[in-house]
Amino acid sequence: MTPPTTAPATPAVRTPAPLARRVAAQARFEAMAMLRNGEQLLLLVVLPLMALAALTLTGLLDGVVPAGATRVDVAVPGVLALCVLSNAFSGQGIQTGFDRRYGVLRFLSTTPLGRGGLIAGKLLAILAVLVVQYVLVAAVGAALGWRPEPAAVLLSVPVLLLGAATFTGLGLLLAGTVRAEATLAVTNLVWVLLAAVGGTLFPATTLPAGPAGLVGLLPSGALGAGLRETFLTGAPSLLPLLVLAGWGAAAWAGAVRWFRWS
């Protein structure tokens, strides 16, 4: 055994990168991981854009298009709501679930990033992906004749943020409490159900009267309704925002309480 040497010198060298840089680095890393994964890309971008084209080019939405509007005006807000679901709920839920399974959450929480930085990085990654989604949906929508009011576009941002916060909470709650495979299965199944009959792509009014009322109380239905109101009438009404906020508060409280890091 060699005689022990001194403690390593110059501890000032071993300092963390600034907080903002750590979080930005994690956000970039997470966003790239999501956008480069084939299945995730399908969920995040390809399927929403296909839904946009299908809803605009077929007569599926006929009957719910208000006077003075076109199919694409109803389709785009629904597709944006679906994008939030794909991104914050399914996408980040699946990624976090597998990160948890493989010990990535534990490893990163031992680095200067820490648990707080890790969550902040994930939230920022969701926002970055949402920007990409919005730009793509708006571009394809524009090609299909979508001409929104600039004020409505601006107002849609806080509604989308509220939706993203709510679905992130739900995604993390799921990812932090059940096995990764279960998260994968549940998020995908829920995505399909909420896309079809959850009030995202199709307004609740397309459903029979009984279920229609319930759909409005789902976070998906509230987000879809809030976004459609924003673009079609100029502003969202209070109820969908309250419903979203309620689900969000409950989901985040549950995630804080029950999320397991390993």
């Binding site: 022990p4 040497t5 403690a7 750590r22 680095a25 597998f98 990160d99 490893f107 031992t110 200067p112």
Partner: protein, 335 residues
């Protein structure tokens, strides 16, 4: 500027653990039979363990699977909150570690803890970007042979390759304290040598290295201080030399290899009452005697060889190994 005649500073404790206890709620397979079972059932993973690890030393926690090694490390890394006892990492409480403290500590988890869908270099660059002045990753990547498999995503790497990436990630911040949980698991002998050389270099640089292993050879090759851990407790501690030869009456090992069938043939001189302190271990073809070996015992063995005309295929006297120490302590095989 150092004083000219200052003596070599004594090693300072980078990690000190004092009477650590960690309990987990018992995982119940069946539903509780009644209200009486509602009382908390706990599993004691760590049961009053104390340990000190110093700069410039390799400290090994050696023990079988389930001994409590990983839980101890997790408490030291701030991943688990101790039930009781104290843990000081670089003088601070790891459970409340600040980013500044975490920047001085590197962790290699047993399961790697690596994202699966990225390529090694990309991951290592990301981890390095979390530090203000990271280690030179190119040098580390070359040394650990990571460049040769950099085109493969982590998910498709072999166990040993993944371990090397996890080690590089643990060293990205050029840490003062490094935790390595089963560093040689899944490694081929060549990778193991590369990793061990690196650990020895870190030690020379003054880094405090704390590792767990269930391989005696790892501890024997690397460790300055060994803590033999079982049932969440320290069963023995010391340098390898101290553990293997605790005193003047150091027991040694006599190993005898015989032809098949001869092991069971008795009577043997070492079964006599005068050699009661000798432990005998038999396999199909070998007899191993551990304990206070004396000239009288050796004479008795050779006399048995002469009188029975049994020519052993091998006969050797060996120093004690950590395995013997472990067997003495716990009475069970370490692996």
């Amino acid at each position: 500027m150092p004083a000219q005649s200052s003596p070599a500073p004594s090693p300072t404790a980078a990690l000190s653990i004092d009477r650590l206890v960690k309990e987990f709620p018992a995982r119940r397979r069946r539903p509780a039979p009644g209200p009486g079972a509602a009382r908390a059932e706990v599993v004691q993973a760590v049961d009053g363990l104390s340990l000190t690890a110093r700069h410039g030393e390799v400290t090994a926690l050696l023990g079988p699977n389930g001994a409590g090694k990983t839980t101890t490390l997790e408490c030291a890394q701030g991943l688990q909150r101790p039930t009781s006892g104290t843990v000081r990492l670089l003088g601070q409480d790891p459970w409340r570690a600040s980013p500044a403290l975490r920047a001085r500590v590197g962790v290699m988890l047993q399961d790697g803890g690596l994202p699966q869908a990225v390529r090694p270099l990309e991951l290592l660059r990301h981890v390095a970007s979390l530090y203000r002045a990271p280690r030179d990753m190119d040098e580390l990547v070359e040394r650990l042979g990571i460049a040769s498999f950099d085109r493969t995503v982590v998910r498709r790497l072999s166990g040993g390759q993944r371990q090397r990436v996890a080690l590089a990630a643990a060293l990205a911040g050029d840490p003062e304290v490094v935790f390595l949980d089963e560093p040689s698991a899944g490694m081929d002998p060549q990778s193991r040598n590369i990793v061990f050389d690196l650990v020895q270099q870190l030690r020379r640089e003054g880094v405090c290295i704390i590792l767990t292993t269930h391989l005696l050879d790892d501890a024997q090759r690397l460790a300055d201080q060994v803590y033999i851990v079982d049932h969440g407790r320290v069963m023995a501690q010391g340098s390898v030399a101290e553990l293997v030869a605790p005193g003047a009456d150091a027991p040694a090992v006599l190993a005898l290899t015989l032809a098949p069938g001869q092991v069971g043939a008795g009577p043997f001189p070492w079964d006599a009452p005068e050699f009661a302190g000798i432990q005998t271990t038999r396999t199909e073809r070998t007899v191993t005697l551990t304990g206070p070996l004396t000239p009288v015992l050796l004479e008795a063995v050779t006399r048995w060889i002469t009188t029975t005309g049994t020519m052993p295929e091998a006969l050797s006297l060996q120093p004690r190994t950590l395995e013997d120490v472990f067997l003495d302590i716990s009475g069970r095989e370490i692996r």
